[in-house]
């Protein structure tokens, strides 16, 4: 039915959840409970400043600096904080190293716990029910959908994140990367490889 008598020049109406966010924000700002400038800083930080590049630097340093690697295994939160990556959801980090014997993979079956300071905001697939259910039940099948094939004897260990503990996978250093400086190595490290759904290659 045509919208007779309706003014078509008005602004496009946002979706229901978007209107609800606006309503929440208006009321909370009006009550002085949140500051719009602080919200913008938070959005900009998580949109542009915090992300997998941080984690990639942790991985590259772990590959090239044995002392750092030891510290990372001993107390990942402290070792990562030394690189300046501190903040929410990164307070209790555990770094799990892939080896020819064991591949590590991270999931959060509770909600979507994720190490924000080193990986940023989780991708949609990490938050999907499909991944959350299947990562535990059939990790090998999930990995093959990500294009990951493991060594025949490599076991898979799936780590379930909690509100308290977050995991960072340290992928294996790829063949052919011998002698590469740390920043070039970091550029090889993908987000997925630090969740365990990818491998690093040259």
């Amino acid at each position: 039915m045509p919208h007779d008598g309706h003014d078509h020049s008005h602004s496009l109406l946002p979706s229901d959840p978007e209107l609800r966010v606006r309503a929440l924000e208006s009321i909370l700002v009006n009550k002085g409970l949140v500051d719009p400038a602080a919200l913008n800083v938070l959005i900009d930080t998580y949109e542009n400043k915090i992300g997998p590049k941080n984690g990639a630097r942790v991985v590259a340093k772990s590959w090239t600096d044995p002392e750092f690697r030891a510290r990372l295994q001993d107390d990942a939160s402290a070792a990562i904080a030394d690189l300046g990556y501190v903040g929410r959801q990164g307070e209790h980090m555990v770094a799990v190293e892939n080896t020819p014997e064991q591949h590590n993979m991270v999931v959060c079956t509770l909600c979507s716990c994720y190490p924000w300071p080193v990986l940023g905001i989780p991708p949609a697939w990490y938050k999907s029910d499909a991944y959350r259910a299947r990562a535990v039940r059939e990790p090998r099948a999930v990995l093959s959908e990500f294009g990951v094939s493991l060594l025949p004897d490599q076991k898979i260990r799936v780590w379930d994140s909690t509100a308290e503990i977050r995991y960072l996978v340290i992928p294996m250093r790829p063949e052919g990367s011998e002698g590469m400086p740390e920043d070039e190595l970091a550029a090889l490290v993908t987000r997925d490889s630090m969740i365990g759904t990818g491998l690093v290659s040259v």
Binding site: R22, L24, W125, D129
Partner: protein, 110 residues
């Protein structure tokens, strides 16, 4: 082959707005983060009764439902005010010419 690490970002601006509200309220001490994750996982459970979650829009829809519930349960805001404010935003969008800034009528709690 190496694929460049994709940038971390929100798929829609309102995802980021919802995210930032929860983080800001937690930082302001309105609720603790473990309380948040517990309430949030209840919202996800409620939502997935209808269909499996895709982890994108539905995830942040659950995020917003959690904010509304926590804030109303603790009398930080009134459910009525949220409903009125949403109606005011809707009116404002429907009556503001395209391209002009949209200013809704504010709801003041008594």
């Amino acid at each position: 082959m190496n694929t460049p690490t994709p940038p971390a970002n929100f798929e829609a601006p309102w995802h980021g707005q919802a995210f930032a509200l929860a983080v800001a309220l937690n930082e302001a001490g309105v609720f603790g983060w473990s309380e948040w994750t517990e309430a949030f996982s209840e919202s996800l459970d409620a939502l997935r009764k209808d269909q499996p979650l895709n982890g994108a829009d539905d995830y942040y829809t659950a995020w917003i439902a959690t904010l509304e519930r926590i804030l109303c349960d603790r009398d930080v805001v009134a459910a009525q005010s949220l409903a009125e404010m949403k109606a005011n935003w809707t009116d404002a969008f429907n009556t503001t010419p395209h391209g002009k800034p949209v200013h809704p009528k504010m709801v003041h709690e008594g």
